[in-house]
Symmetry: none
Amino acid sequence: MRARLIENAVLVFAEKGTDASVIDDVVEAANVSRGTFYNYFPSNAELAVAVSEELANELMILIEDCVEDIEDPVERIATGLYLFLETVKTFPVTARFMSQSGLGIAGPESLIYEFLPPHIERAVGEGRFPAMPITITLDFIAGTVTAAVFRASLGVDLADHTRLVVVSILQGLGLPQAEASRISDRPLPCLEIPETSLLNRAERRFQKREADKKLTAS
Amino acid sequence: MRARLIENAVLVFAEKGTDASVIDDVVEAANVSRGTFYNYFPSNAELAVAVSEELANELMILIEDCVEDIEDPVERIATGLYLFLETVKTFPVTARFMSQSGLGIAGPESLIYEFLPPHIERAVGEGRFPAMPITITLDFIAGTVTAAVFRASLGVDLADHTRLVVVSILQGLGLPQAEASRISDRPLPCLEIPETSLLNRAERRFQKREADKKLTAS
Amino acid sequence: MRARLIENAVLVFAEKGTDASVIDDVVEAANVSRGTFYNYFPSNAELAVAVSEELANELMILIEDCVEDIEDPVERIATGLYLFLETVKTFPVTARFMSQSGLGIAGPESLIYEFLPPHIERAVGEGRFPAMPITITLDFIAGTVTAAVFRASLGVDLADHTRLVVVSILQGLGLPQAEASRISDRPLPCLEIPETSLLNRAERRFQKREADKKLTAS
Amino acid sequence: MRARLIENAVLVFAEKGTDASVIDDVVEAANVSRGTFYNYFPSNAELAVAVSEELANELMILIEDCVEDIEDPVERIATGLYLFLETVKTFPVTARFMSQSGLGIAGPESLIYEFLPPHIERAVGEGRFPAMPITITLDFIAGTVTAAVFRASLGVDLADHTRLVVVSILQGLGLPQAEASRISDRPLPCLEIPETSLLNRAERRFQKREADKKLTAS
DNA sequence: GATGAATGAGGCTTCATTCAT
DNA sequence: CATGAATGAAGCCTCATTCAT
């Protein structure tokens, strides 16, 4: 039930923004009663946090699984960012949810702030990146990624978009152009997203809703 | 009257976010009646847009005035971004307003999307930056700047923050490290913000409100 | 408008009790919008207080006007209580409202606690009543009157009820039986209740509502 | 289980009033499930009645046991009222419960309406009290007692309170001052309240709850 | 019996918007 | 133009009650 609510909340937040009054829509989308909602979440805000964490955790874990064998910290960062952006693009509902949440919700618990620092520090230690306060580095990455996701959420798909964003980030971190290009030209893996993941469930539910709407309209 | 409303709206948006229900607070802060508000703005949204444009235009013009004599496009971009960030930091209310609005409102009318492209293109033309779709470049800059403003709006002030952000952007755009550092090490001008500017008026009004609150409380 | 709301609130409180959730009923009875209600009363509780004060003040003033020429404090108290009970009995809606409010709402601002003490003290000073802590005296009177009003609100009308209640109170205060009887046997005045008083308006509105109900039913 | 629910209900009613929404609190206080509650009481109202009767019956029986040997009806009434008030004062939770219930719930089943009439009638028969409709007499007593309990429930303890209230009642019933004083100056017995009585259980449970609250808070 | 998740009616409150003065 | 009372749709939240396990 909790899962059902979260699943539907993704949709609604994606449509109306993380600040919007959402409870009514969620309970309608999830086909449960208002009361049930309050058995699980004391308020709108907690729901938003729960959704955010759930999505982020899921994606984090999938990406980490995929990149854990990459030894080179720079390659690992590049691959992680690439996978993140590519995956998000494949799941428009998630993309929209993330742009709606903005930097605010991507708070200190977010994917980026948890998983990146060790690798960045290693890269700095190895002299691959010049030293810089970690907060500035993370803001830089988060800002760029957020803007890229926002662009994607508008439905625009620019040629080579993900790769170019990753190159920009690597360069911004201080990697020479040539190396940045080389690293992002490597063949990159693709994530396997389980059918039962929140990403997939939210997306399917969205498709279903759209289909239902059309039926009702006609 | 329009000015008065906008001036007060900056504060309220800064506090409660651009999506929040705001009209009541604005009319109270501005000491006008609800009805009057509707003589000037058909709705909340138009107000947010108006505020955003007003602030952006003002700042754009001030910055352009200051940088128009800089010939080198890269230096000009760097200086513009530097001035933007430094100014915003001096006006916390504005900083908060901007982080609250996020990328969404900074939309196609924003400072960045209007004034930067020519100079970027010139820099690309001169071979200073590698070619890249302009949208990606602008997203990259907007994202990084937004994240930096967000950080500043939290009240954190990291040493050398503005300069490092500008360096990251220049590098991200493809400028070699050495040159990026050199350009941002130049002595940079400082903006003269007129007393009657919206930036200043909003800030002063904010100070006044805080003072009033303390008086009322005691 | 405030008057209109209070007027209708009397009815609803009379029916459902002072603690009941009443706003919806009041706005319906008064034929105004929910929003309007909140322009006048921040909540249920404030409404209850307002109604209570309004009714009490009105009745207090009418009674005081009527008894102000009575020199003897005991006669004055007796007459005041008599008028209070008789009047309340003539206005069943008010009687019901008062029994619903109980002792709690008849709090320190009530009629009884404001107007009686000086006369009681004079009577004690003149040796008509034995001395007793004023709180106990007032509780005694308030309790007896409340119970009498409660009885009246049930629609029961016992022969000679008001006079016997007043006799009991006078005796309880320490007046010898003979004198208590003598005082309450005097011809007693009757209040003139203005047509525009809340008492009358509430009562008329009640009649109207009952009539409407019958019409709707048939 | 029924006993457990009632025991806890006393507390909750004492705190929030007999009309309040109470089931949740009761099941939490009693540590049983919602469902169980409905196996014992069809609704809030029945619970309130059950609690009220249980408390009243218990106290009635204890008092009757104590006064059954008093031959003089007036003394018996006086002693009964005295014991009632003194006992209630010793059990603040009960006092609060009773003031919250008010006259309404003390209805026709109450202690007062069941046990007093015979003795009053005897007293009238013996010429100790003047004749008066029994309903008025009982209302008079119930009203005065209720007000006294209400006062006690506020935590106020006036010197000699109980005795003075009893004197007022006796006088109000028509007993001459001197006799009223004499009767209430006799040494009066004190009730023995069994440890397992509802009065005691409710009080202990209240103490426990308060203790738990303090622990949780610290 | 006991349980507790689910329900949904019912009541509360806010706030953008209108409109007569 | 300015006003501010009135509006009512839209959302929030609680809590008595049911029911499958």
